[in-house]
Structures are given as C-alpha cells and as structure tokens.
C-alpha cells in the first residue's frame, strides 16, 4: 500500500471535523493544503483509509459517502490505554517514562526533593 501518512492525517481530520457522511468533494474543499491535492489523489487516500478500517463507505446514487468509524477521542483513548497499561508484555513494545507510585511514596519523596532543592540553592 502506498504511503500517504501526511495526507491521511489531514483527510481524517477533515472527516472528523464534519459531523455525518462526507464525499470526496467535501473533503477537498475542507483541506487547506498547498499545493492543493488532486481529486483523484484524495479519492485514492480515502479508499485506503476505508480499506484500513478508519472509515465506512456508503454509495448514494453514484457518489461514495464516507464516515469515520470511531471518533478521534476514541483513538486517542486507545493510544493512552496502551501507553498506561501495566501489563508486562507491553514492556518491549512501548517504553514509558515512568510507572505510577503509591500516594504515600509521592508525598514523602516530594518532601525529600524540596529539602534537596533548598540545600542546592543555599550552596
């Protein structure tokens, strides 16, 4: 499958921005890109997004209408679920900056850190 990462993102954003089904022409009007992509390019990328499962497609008359399968928020929530999952088998997939800690630990460490900072600035 050819790669249109940038354009895919722009098109998805345009589809998310409008409520309800859109056709290629609607998306083309919404896209604010220089140079303006060709109608057929947008058509191709929208078909790719459909095949990837990002959009549903319904034919009305001779025109295809597309709709996002899930909202942008749903996808973000999915990403964050993966990012915050504590499951062990995720360790090799994503590397997190930090896991959580107990509330008690946090308070005690905050105190320790503040003492260290005062000492540092006193020096």
């Amino acid at each position: 499958m050819p790669h249109f990462g940038d354009l895919e993102a722009a098109i998805m954003n345009a589809v998310w921005a409008t409520n309800g089904p859109v056709c290629v022409r609607d998306v083309l009007e919404q896209l604010d890109r220089e140079p303006e992509p060709a109608y057929t390019t947008v058509q191709t990328v929208m078909d790719i997004l459909y095949r990837k499962g990002w959009m549903t497609r319904v034919k009305r008359g001779r025109i295809n209408f597309y709709e996002a399968t899930a909202s942008r928020e749903d996808y973000v929530a999915g990403l964050m679920n993966e990012a915050l999952a504590v499951a062990d088998d995720r360790t090799a997939m994503l590397v997190k900056f930090v896991e959580g800690m107990e509330p008690g630990e946090g308070a005690a460490l905050r105190q320790l850190l503040n003492t260290a900072k005062t000492e540092e600035s006193a020096r």
Binding site: D88, M93, L94, F97, E105
Partner: protein
C-alpha cells in the same frame, strides 16, 4: 556422560544461587549497565548449559583433530560405539530431545515476543500519525489527552510521544529531562534486551533466574536511562519530572519490598549513589566473563581428556597425530 554431569551441576548451581548473588547488596543500582549485563549473562549461561547438557549426551566426546576428515571418522566411530549400547542410545535420545526442546522453546518465545512488539508498535504508530501532532522542536509527537504521560516507540521509525496533559504539568527543563530519558532508551535499544529477556521469562516461567533477570532488566534500563539523561539535565529537575508524572497514578503491579521503581529512581536522583569502585567493577566483570566461559569449559575439559582415548581402531584416527 561426565561432561553432561558437570554441566548439569553447573546449571543447577547457577539457577539456584545466581538470583540471590546478583541481588545482594543492591550493587546493580550503582552500576546499572554492568547489572544488566550480569543478569543477561547469567540467564544466557543457564540457557547455553541446558542446551549443552543435551549435546553432551548426544555426541560422545571425540578426539579433536585439525583434520576434518579424521574428525568426522572419529565421530562416526565413537557414535557407533555409543549407540551400540542400549543405555548410550537412550541417553542420546534424551539429550537430543532436551537440547532441541530448550533451544526451540527459547527461540519461539523470543520470536513471539519480538513479533508482538513489532506488530503492536506498527499499529500504535499508525494511529499516532493520524491523531498526533508532530512537534519538531521537541523531537516528539504531541497527543491531545489530559492524561499526563510520556512514552516512546522504539525501532527504526522511532517516536517519542508526549500528551498535552504532560506539557501542562512539566516546565521546559523538566520536559527536556524527560525527553532525554526517552532518547536514551531509544538510542541504546533497550527494547531489544527487554524483548529477549521477556521472551526467555515467558518460555520458562518456572525458572526463577529467567523471571528475575527480566524483572531486574526492566528496572535497570530505567536507572540506566536516568543516568544518561542526568548527563544533559539536572538530576533534581529529572527527579521532579518523575515525581510529577508518577504522582498522578498508582501502579497496578504488585510492588517489591523496596517500593515502586519510580520511587527508587527519584530517591537515587536526589541522593546520587556512588558508582561502583574499580576493584568491584573488575571483579564483577570477571565474574560475568566466567558465566559465559564456564559452560563451554565444562564441555571442553572432558573433550581434551578424550583426546588421549582410543575410540577408534588403530590405523584410522589414533594414528593421525603421529602422521601430522
């Protein structure tokens, strides 16, 4: 047979004693890189010796010869000798099954672990390209979420992900410290060592050395990345970034006796642990090298001794050294 027994004793000792020895005194927190290497080598050594036990049972020790044709003939003779007795044949069958089973299981689980990570990352990255906003000045992708989090996607098409929630909580210097920590993970490909040790731990969950090696590696790569980040960022700033992001969540996983890894990291950044001295570093490195060398030695010693045995009829191989 004796080689197999020596290896068996070594493997047993290693599996039994190594986890305790390596955790003793908490020295790994003072030298995380050496700690990772030590745990990995101990696990690898156990895997290799388990496989070698099998091979030692299958292949009787033969005269080592520089001449390939002679070596081959020696092997055939010795093999014929061993397989002529029912006990020898049974031992060889057990050995073959053991060696193949150990290696195949390890290879399979590590492959699954790697493939799973690759697949999951590709999907995560796909979603990220559509919902994330690249921020070139940060070298990261920003995701619009109130959940404060920073994480990275390792691999060839690597990404660092920061949420808007994290951007709100961290100031510029704290953010830079957090990003430096993630870059250290990516640059040193910690994901590969994690995939390997995770695969081994899943392959043999009953073997404590493997599960402990994985758990310790998970912990030590964090300490190592902190140390790398602390070269470019202030230690206390990094500690504050950690506290800010970790403080908002509680870990779901059960905690060890020393509390969460996050707490240990913060403590370690506030009061730097003295690095391991030269002597202890040298001693530990020697120990690590020995872990790798011992199983091979265990196989090589009886092999060398066997060089003086006459496995084969006179005139074939036994005559070879004099002919040379």
């Amino acid at each position: 047979m004796s080689a197999a027994l020596i290896l068996f004793a070594y493997a047993g000792l290693l599996a039994f004693a190594a986890p305790g020895l390596l955790s003793r005194g908490g020295w790994t927190a003072r030298a995380p890189r050496l700690g990772i290497i030590a745990w990995q080598m101990a696990a690898f050594s156990l895997l290799v010796s388990a496989a070698l036990i099998g091979f030692a049972l299958v292949v009787p020790t033969v005269q080592v010869s520089a001449d390939l044709a002679n070596l081959f003939r020696a092997c055939v003779m010795a093999l014929r000798d061993q397989y002529a007795t029912p006990g020898g044949a049974a031992a060889a069958a057990v050995g073959a099954v053991l060696a193949l089973a150990v290696l195949a299981r390890a290879a399979w689980c590590v492959t699954v672990s790697l493939a799973g990570a690759l697949h999951g990352r590709a999907r995560h990255r796909d979603v990220l390209t559509l919902v994330g906003v690249p921020a070139a000045h940060l070298g990261a992708v920003v995701v619009d979420s109130d959940e404060p989090a920073v994480h990275c996607l390792p691999g060839r098409r690597r990404r660092i992900v920061v949420t808007t929630g994290a951007l709100r909580l961290l100031d510029d210097r704290q953010l830079a410290a957090a990003l430096a920590h993630e870059r250290a993970h990516l640059d040193q490909r910690h994901d590969l060592v994690l995939a390997w040790s995770g695969g081994l731990a899943r392959a043999f969950p009953r073997v404590r050395l493997f599960t402990r090696a994985h758990a310790e590696t998970v912990r030590l790569v964090e300490l190592l990345a902190d140390d790398v980040a602390a070269r470019s960022a202030d230690r206390l700033t990094l500690a504050e970034a950690l506290l800010t992001l970790a403080g908002s969540r509680t870990p779901a996983a059960a905690l060890g006796a020393g509390g969460s890894t996050a707490a240990e990291r913060v403590r370690r950044l506030i009061t730097p642990y003295p690095p391991l001295g030269h002597l202890r570093t040298a001693l530990t490195s020697t120990g690590v090298a020995a872990l790798l060398a011992l199983p091979l030695l265990g196989l090589a010693t009886p092999m060398a001794a066997a060089a003086h045995l006459h496995y084969c009829p006179p005139g074939t191989v036994a005559a070879a050294p004099t002919a040379r």
